[in-house]
Amino acid sequence: MDNLITGCKQKNPARQRQLFGLFAPVMMTVARRYAATSDAAEDILQEAFIKVFRAFDQFDETKGALEGWIRRIVVNTAIQHWRKRHKNFPATPDEFLPENPVAAEADMLMDAEELLQLIADLPPGFRMVFNLYAIEGYSHAEIAGMLGIAESASRSQLARARKQLQAAVFSLQKNGMV
């Protein structure tokens, strides 16, 4: 791994290609979580890796793992893509939404592709907030700063996303699909 990092810092094309091959599949999953389609996910992945190689000099292995650093760049790229397309999305007051409506007892037999499809079916704003909060672990205040929205809007988007996911999971269970 050290050789790989050194080679990428020296902008060695062979090492860059090697790094891309190593991390592209996992990062594609990250991109797919934020994108509605595979094409959009590929755009995010491609742009993110261009940023990775351009900014590789700034990567400091003493501050964290390479995978985490690349993952953050992929997420940031996805956010930028989202901001380009969805500047405003409706905010709903929290009091009209259930606090935590997703069923904890949701069947855990769903595989990764089914989960990705569920997330992809969410409206863009729901998907973005759900990913940032539930998967990446950002707080609502941080999400509000990233997306340029109010904190209350982030909360309501998450609640709605959970509600929609719950309905989708129940629907799948009801149809015997999971």
Binding site: F20, A24, P25, F53, K84, K87, A104, I135, G145
Partner: protein, 487 residues
């Protein structure tokens, strides 16, 4: 995080999705190759600027040593010595009035007559404009009458100075005055330096001063040499602009106000309302610039310079958001019974909507650090005033935004470029902004002057990020004042 979310995170965390690696890597590789080309252009630009400065400095050190006409103190002392022996050049101390010599008529080397006892016999110059290739004139005679008798000097091209009554400088002395101080031979003939000066007042190629400028200086220097009480700058307090080495370095500082003219465009239709809202409420609070420069100026008036400039724009705008919320529902249920007795149930709901208008006030503070590089020309109609113009590019080195967003119903939020998170709408990158300046300079002393100028700078690229849906760019007309020091 509930169990579903934890399960989702764990399942997807290391899940590898299929990727068309070959195709995607091809695109990435192409983008990275283009990156490598950009620095080449960047270095070419810097190399060009470096060459410009190096050429200026080289010219200064090389040509600066070959001053065609230098009236230095040692030579004056020789003349003073000669004059003391002969006496009678006292009337030359009134030569300060010679600075008001009338323009030299075409075809004549010097004016017909000058007051205060210094008279010049009419000599028809064979040169005319640019006629130095023709045969040289017979002689130039300078004559001054004084208490101890007249002073008369004549210089011929190929003959020694023949006759000076009451003042007998040797041929060597006078030719020393007229020749370069280092003893080198001017290209157009040493001992006839005066005669080689075009009568139309234009500057000869070898750097000799035109007659209307040179002769007063010569006579004033003679007078000053004869009487040290007479300053060589008795009239204006400043020596001639073109005196001294061919290339002169200089530096200066300036500051001023500017009026930022913003271009704000939505890249996508859905953002046009936001842009319109912002433009309607925007107020420019402040636009300032301050900087310093260093350059080299040629005797011809052409100069090249580079500097460092700090530029700041403060603005304020309000953004009003109209939000519609559903605050309740009214269910309407009806039963319709028709004639045959069929019953139909209908139901509908009426949404109760509430519109909320909220306003955010944003204070933006944009700061730029740039390196202006310029070429220009300075026109000097007299010893005090000059007009100049210059044009060039400002290389933007850095950009910082500070913002305070005040939601009138909440606490202010502060943003700084360095601390901004993902999706930050601005970006700092090196860009080139063309600019043009025009101004006037007033000399306080031989070296120090003050100036005022108008400037127009057109930012070469937007300050918003490439992927941000709104494009923001500035045109910056402004006014600067400053101080200029020429070595």
């Amino acid at each position: 995080m509930n169990d579903f979310e934890k399960y989702t995170k764990d399942t997807l965390n290391d899940y590898p999705s299929p990727v068309d690696e070959t195709r995607l890597w091809g695109n990435i590789e192409q983008a990275l190759r283009e990156d490598k080309r950009r620095p080449v252009a960047f270095w070419i630009l810097w190399l060009g600027c470096g060459l410009l400065v190096a050429t200026g400095l080289a010219g200064y050190y090389w040509y600066g040593k070959n001053t065609p006409v230098t009236l230095t103190q040692p030579e004056k002392s020789i003349i003073a010595s000669d004059a003391a022996e002969g006496g009678g050049v006292n009337n030359l101390r009134t030569s300060d009035s010679l600075f008001s010599l009338p323009p030299t008529p075409k075809g004549k080397l010097i004016p017909d007559k000058v007051e205060n006892g210094v008279s010049f016999p009419e000599i028809n110059s064979p040169f005319g404009v640019g006629g130095r290739e023709k045969s040289p004139p017979q002689a130039l005679k300078l004559m001054a009458s004084g208490a101890g008798g007249g002073v008369e000097a004549q210089a011929g091209r190929q003959s020694p100075i023949p006759n000076i009554s009451g003042f007998s400088p040797s041929n060597e002395v006078l030719t020393t005055i007229l020749n370069p101080s280092d003893g080198s031979e001017p290209s157009n003939g040493a001992s006839t330096g005066i005669l080689l000066i075009p009568s139309d007042g234009s500057k000869p190629s070898d750097g000799a001063l035109p007659a209307p400028v040179f002769l007063p200086i010569l006579l004033q220097e003679l007078a000053a040499a004869n009487n040290p009480d007479i300053s060589s700058n008795t009239k204006t307090g400043c020596s001639d602009w073109s005196k001294g080495p061919a290339f002169k370095p200089y530096f200066g500082v300036y500051g001023g106000a500017q009026y930022p003219m913003k271009t704000l465009q939505a890249k996508e239709t859905e953002f046009e309302n936001i842009v319109a809202d912002r433009q309607e409420t925007e107020t420019i609070l402040e636009g300032i610039a301050a900087g310093a420069y260093f350059g080299v100026k040629h005797r011809s008036g052409v100069f090249a310079e580079g500097g460092l400039e700090y530029n700041r724009i403060n603005e304020r705008f309000d953004r009003t958001t109209l939000r519609t919320d559903t605050i309740g529902k009214i269910a309407v249920i009806g039963i319709i019974v028709n004639a045959p007795g069929d019953t139909t149930f209908i139901s509908d709901s009426i949404h109760i909507l509430q519109e909320t208008r909220s306003m955010k006030r944003t204070y933006n503070n944009y700061r730029f650090l740039q390196v202006p590089l310029a070429l220009g020309y300075e026109w000097q109609p007299n010893d005090r005033w000059s007009l100049y113009g210059k044009a060039g590019v400002a290389v933007n080195l850095g950009f910082q935004q500070k913002a305070e967003i005040v939601n009138l119903t909440g606490l202010p939020e502060k943003y700084v470029s360095e601390n901004a998170g993902p999706g930050y709408p601005f970006r700092s990158k090196i860009s080139l902004s063309p600019f043009v300046n025009a101004g006037a300079r007033f000399r306080l002393t031989d070296h120090l002057s003050v100036f005022g100028e108008m400037r127009y700078l057109h930012q070469g690229s937007e300050i918003t990020a490439d992927d941000y849906p709104v494009r923001q760019q500035y045109k910056l007309p402004g006014v600067n004042v400053g101080a200029h020091y020429q070595f």
